[in-house]
């Protein structure tokens, strides 16, 4: 049971590629791999712990004001993440700028809380949160990997394309500057969605 809760969000019901949730904050941080990894980790922790907390509270929250309660819990966790990032890695916190704050409005978190945490026990909810965060992080890291590799020829800041391949050094290779521009993130995600759907043949979005 728990294994299915964990594995489904990674592949079969991936929040980004199948359900189209949480793309808002996802793509703007994918120019380089490092901020994308930090973002993925932050989202995973926030989703996991907010589902845990709200699942513990699920029988005490009045139904009418549940959205406000959810927002307060999520916002508090995000403030914690933001302060920790500012304290321990100022550089990355600067690069992520407003997108850490935007984790609050990440649809995955609200969606999973509504759909899962409010009707399930704390431990499965925690697993569900972590798994959805990882499913989201997986797409984020994949996009960032291709954008950094093809856009600047590096991975995590290390050069992986040999220097003498470049045109400037008499070679044949040139970095594709288009990958550094925002629209390419969408196109890369579009291609990832294509692959996921072709593998799953689950026609959720087809009319």
């Amino acid at each position: 049971m728990n294994k299915r809760i964990f594995l489904d969000p990674l592949f079969k019901n991936n929040p980004v590629s199948i359900l189209a949730l949480g793309i808002c904050s996802a793509l703007a941080v994918t120019v380089k791999l490092e901020p994308a990894l930090v973002m993925a980790l932050s989202v995973t922790l926030v989703t996991g712990f907010s589902e845990l907390i709200l699942s513990l509270l699920r029988n005490t929250i009045p139904n009418r004001i549940r959205i406000i309660v959810q927002l307060v819990v999520v916002a508090t966790l995000v403030i914690l993440v933001d302060l920790i990032l500012k304290a321990y890695s100022w550089q990355i916190s600067k690069q992520l700028s407003v997108f850490v704050g935007l984790i609050i409005t990440n649809c995955i978190i609200m969606g999973r809380i509504e759909a899962f945490a409010l009707i399930n026990k704390p431990f499965p909810s925690f697993v569900d949160g972590i798994a959805n965060g990882l499913g989201y992080g997986m797409i984020l890291v994949a996009v960032a990997f291709f954008r950094e590799l093809l856009g600047s020829g590096t991975i995590l800041g290390h050069h992986v394309i040999p220097g003498n391949w470049y045109v400037a050094n008499g070679g044949f290779y040139e970095n594709n500057g288009l990958f550094l521009l925002p629209p390419m993130a969408l196109i890369v995600v579009g291609l990832i969605v294509w692959i996921f759907n072709a593998k799953n043949d689950k026609k959720v979005w087809n009319k």
């Binding site: 949730l21 959205i67 927002l71 916002a75 508090t76 969408l186 969605v193």
Partner: protein
């Protein structure tokens, strides 16, 4: 004045919420199947932005930013409440969205039925919170600049969702590879539209 127009134009074209920052993608993809509902949601977003941004600006200026509380008591110059900004911004937005929802339900029931679940979702629409956070980061000087930023980014968002809805209406007649239908092709079209919008880069008035 010049600066105000500049902020407005930038908000629509060069710093478009969707194409440059991917803000509000969830509702952008989910509600863009027909032009009618898309424009309804677009108008709702413009409206919410126009209300929440000035309120959040005043909140930021007179309560949250470092030393902002001196207008109450000069001794509080040391107080820095900026860590509370996420939570207060989202509270203001949620309250305003609730208000808009009640107004729409009362005066435009047809629109209310069409928007359905997505009206409450404006509360968690990244574009609205994102605009507030950008407003805080960019440190606008006065409230007129903030209002022009709100209007500009709102219209930019409206433009994006209405144009993708129009394209998707036509797309239902085209022969797209099956796994690509729906979400996949919507992403790629948005990317191509984004590339088109990049040509506005560097426009200054």
């Amino acid at each position: 004045m010049e600066q105000i127009v500049n902020i407005f134009v930038k908000g629509i074209f060069t710093e478009n919420m969707i194409f440059a920052y991917f803000l509000g993608m969830c509702s952008y993809l989910a509600v863009s199947k027909t032009v009618k509902t898309a424009s309804g949601l677009g108008v709702a977003v413009i409206f919410v932005l126009l209300i929440t941004l000035p309120v959040n600006y005043l909140l930021n200026r007179y309560v949250l930013s470092p030393g902002a509380l001196t207008w109450i008591n000069p001794l509080w110059a040391e107080v820095d409440l900026s860590f509370l900004s996420f939570i207060l911004f989202i509270a203001v937005i949620a309250a305003m969205v609730q208000l808009v929802e009640m107004v729409v339900e009362k005066f435009a029931p047809a629109l209310y039925n069409n928007l359905g679940i997505f009206l409450p979702l404006i509360a968690v629409n990244c574009a609205v919170l994102g605009a507030s956070l950008f407003m805080q980061e960019k440190e606008y000087e006065n409230i007129l600049q903030v209002i022009s930023y709100a209007l500009g980014s709102g219209i930019g968002w409206f433009l994006a969702i209405v144009s993708i809805a129009a394209i998707r209406e036509k797309l239902s007649y085209s022969n797209i590879p099956a796994p690509m239908r729906g979400l996949g092709i919507a992403f790629i079209i948005t990317g191509l539209m984004g590339i088109a919008f990049m040509s506005f880069m560097g426009i200054q008035l």
